[in-house]
């Protein structure tokens, strides 16, 4: 035993000294820590941050965005929108090649957008796209059935990866194409190794079409599902950057590490909202007064300050408060237990009622904790709340998607434009049983439908904003959902890193400018 310890100690010293001498040359390696497990690496057919982070490194896209929501050239060096808003022309760079050496052409762009339209769960993203014309190898013209102001944002790296048609266009189903796990793209990094659920190794693309980029030699995404193990890895320098960190303990702990910096920038387009959803079709909850009563009883302040230890921000609206479409005048439902009790009595539940609450299995602090908190809080207005835990995501998704729930805690992302991430929750046309993150609340309001449909095609930014403002007022009144807070996403990173991506898409954005300062 003693000998063993000594041997291992010696080995530790050997390894330690090896690790402390910079093992990397010029460009160096960036290790990204992640708790999220990607199914595969193709963002064209899979939503979610787990896929988007590596996918945006591997695949380039027509446009990219800066931190002010302004589109920037990427594979498209310029773009035009026709007067009527029904056609968008992309002029592609002519020096872009895929990792296998084949050139990127308008054919690939057209193929990619149509593939995404057909296979990506976000149906509204490219729904108005009727066809894509390719007059020449470096021009693609997107033809729309109606004006679609969200289109430009949908051409971001996170949502519109450009796939090589010669690889993905072989007739196999894109959703389960083998190349999804061995992708070939035109982005700054190429896949070197993908050990599903463990590690993704990306190597610098030496033929990247943007001169002098990327700066790094290698990006490694390490999946560490256990938060404490991940924190240790960050503290030990085993990992250099940890995006999408939402736990208050994690944030508070890594803030103390001398070599790390913490930022909450880089999540504007994600728009992650933590909310309490009501099954508005259920007998007890179809009365808006009950929903309002629960809203008045719920103390956002306690949740964000006490439960989340001040790291998360309150969220009053279906549209994330950092979005330009957010309406500040929306009613906040400041905590008022008397009013809540009065509403309950008005609705005929003066003697209280029994309800159940579900929550997505995952980060406890945002979901389970709030559910547990509501259990003790709603008791005060006579609601006897039973927490119905699900052991796993599929169980929860089955219940909520199947409309078999009363209340549920949920986290839903805005995904940049409301058309992509907001409409799906409130349009009555999107009440689709069995589909998670559709309008599972079964909320139907003709006026809301009308406003959202108008906003989807409105090209004038101010008018569009006004439509969304009215929408927000109505849903806040109807409370099919009570929005609680935005997820306190933070990024912890090594202070020696330069140009850490803090744009609207954060790390779901090509990291071709990130470099080590040494």
């Amino acid at each position: 035993m003693k000998l063993m310890t000594r041997l291992m100690g010696a080995a530790a010293i050997a390894v330690g000294s090896l690790a402390s001498t910079p093992a990397f040359a010029e460009g160096g390696t960036l290790v990204i820590a992640s708790t999220q497990v990607p199914r595969h690496l193709n963002g064209a057919v899979q939503s979610g941050i787990a896929t988007a982070v590596p996918s945006t490194q591997i695949f380039a896209s027509p446009l990219r965005y800066d931190e002010n929501w302004e589109p920037q050239p990427y594979l498209a060096k310029s773009w035009d929108i026709s007067e009527d808003g029904l056609s968008v022309t992309l002029n592609l760079v002519d020096n872009a090649t895929f990792h296998d050496g084949k050139p990127v052409t308008s054919e690939d762009v057209a193929f990619s957008i149509m593939t995404t339209k057909e296979n990506h769960p976000f149906k509204s993203m490219f729904a108005p796209v009727e066809s894509i014309e390719t007059p020449d190898a470096h021009t693609a013209v997107i033809k729309l059935s109606q004006p679609h102001p969200a289109l430009l944002l949908a051409l971001s790296p996170a949502l519109a990866p450009v796939l090589p048609k010669h690889v993905f266009g072989d007739g196999q189903d894109a959703k389960s194409h083998p190349a999804n796990s061995a992708p070939v793209g035109s982005g700054p990094f190429m896949l070197d190794e993908f050990k599903a659920g463990e590690v993704i190794v990306l190597k610098k693309n030496p033929n990247f079409f943007l001169e002098g980029r990327p700066k790094l030699d290698e990006i490694i995404v390490r999946i560490i599902k256990d938060p404490s193990a991940l924190l240790i890895a960050m503290e030990n320098g085993e990992a250099d950057i940890y995006p999408f960190m939402a736990g208050s303990q994690e944030i508070r702990r890594l803030e103390k590490a001398d070599h790390l910096a913490i930022t909450d920038q880089g999540y504007a387009a994600v728009g992650p909202i933590n909310w309490l959803a009501f099954n508005t079709a259920s007998e007890k909850l179809k009365d808006v007064r009950v929903r309002q009563a629960i809203a008045y009883a719920t103390d956002r302040d306690f949740i964000t300050k006490a439960l989340h230890r001040g790291v998360s921000k309150q969220q009053r609206s279906p549209i994330i408060e950092s979005s330009p479409f957010f309406d500040e005048t929306i009613p906040a439902y400041d905590t008022d237990l008397d009013k809540a009790k009065a509403l309950m009595a008005e609705a005929g539940y003066a003697d209280g009622m029994d309800l159940t609450i579900d929550y997505i299995p995952g980060p406890k602090e945002q979901q389970q904790s709030v559910a547990e908190y509501l259990k003790s809080q709603l008791k005060k207005i006579g609601i006897n709340l039973t927490v119905r835990a699900a052991p796993d995501f599929p169980t929860w998704a089955g219940r909520v998607g199947g409309h078999d729930f009363e209340l549920t805690m949920d986290v839903v992302f805005n995904w940049g434009d409301p058309v992509i991430g907001v409409h799906r929750t409130y349009l009555s046309s999107n009440i689709r049983k069995g589909v998670i993150w559709s309008n599972t609340q079964q909320y139907a309001n003709a006026k809301v439908d009308e406003l959202l449909n108008a906003a989807a095609v409105e090209q004038d930014a101010d008018k569009r904003k006004a439509l969304y403002a009215e929408f927000q007022q109505i849903v806040a009144q109807d409370v099919p959902i009570y929005w609680i807070n935005s997820l306190p996403y933070h990024t912890a990173y090594d202070k020696k890193l330069k140009n850490v991506p803090t744009g609207i898409w954060g790390t779901m954005h090509p990291m071709d400018m990130v470099e080590w300062s040494e």
């Binding site: 291992m8 595969h40 085993e238 589909v435």
Partner: protein, 325 residues
Amino acid sequence: MSSSYLLRRTGYGLLLMLGVVVLNFLLIRLAPGDPAVVIAGEMGGATEEMLESIREEYGLNKPVLTQLAIYVGNVLQGNLGESFFFNQPVSKLIADRIGPTILLVITAQLMSIALGVFLGVIAARKPNGAMSAFVSVFATIGYAVPVFWTGIMLIILFASSFPIFPVEGMQSVKLRDAAWYVQTIDILHHLVLPAFTLAIIYLAQYARLSRASMLEVLGSDYIRTARAKGASEKSVLFKHALRNAALPILTVAGLQFGNLISGALLVETVFNWPGMGRLAFDSILRRDYPTIMGVLFFASAMVVIANILTDISYRWADPRLRGRS
């Protein structure tokens, strides 16, 4: 030992495996829930058409028995199917992870047997001595401590107070381009805590068992014969007695292998060890049925192989069994 015995044993093992496959399949397919919804949910939500195409693609719209026949046929050809979650064949997922699991399990097994037997032999020399008492107490403690809790306590201890051993993962990713010996040392370094955590339960049991077994053997006539020959105490203990005392230890080691895999599942989870146990755990939570079935299949196969190896070594160790079947 005859090769026909080995053949029969292997054939029987394969039959057991087939049983495992059938049982798993039926169990999982009879459970409530629609796998297509599960798959669609993982993709981020889906429409009815998508569900339909998923059912079509994974053959979920066929009758269960047909699915079973197809599955068994595929397994016989070495195809464990596609994961519902990952866009990869189950066999690749397992291939990526079986190495680390075997490394962990075998290391823990060897560690616990070597240390446990050593302690047990020492203790057996003086059945009423301090070492003997220690082994008894230690064995009971080792048996009673939940393995995941030991792991957590070690993490608390080694994470910040004594950061001499890594507490998560199997390798430093930054060393993945280093020379092979650096990587080997790195892996061994990462192996210490998980292997020790897993070993400690069994270490205690082997210590207790080998103490009892040695005491039994030391009282036997042939040990007296060895002493009467003038053999030294060391030779009596480690040559004459241990060879015989090893027989029950071997039996237990074989039987323990299944438990060891169960323990590895917990240890892998605690230490973020990239093995099959964690894959199993994650797959269960994701309802990734093909992967669950694949892992169960491989885990059972490991037990079957371990049992066959135990049988063989048992026959090697005990000449009385040779030539018998």
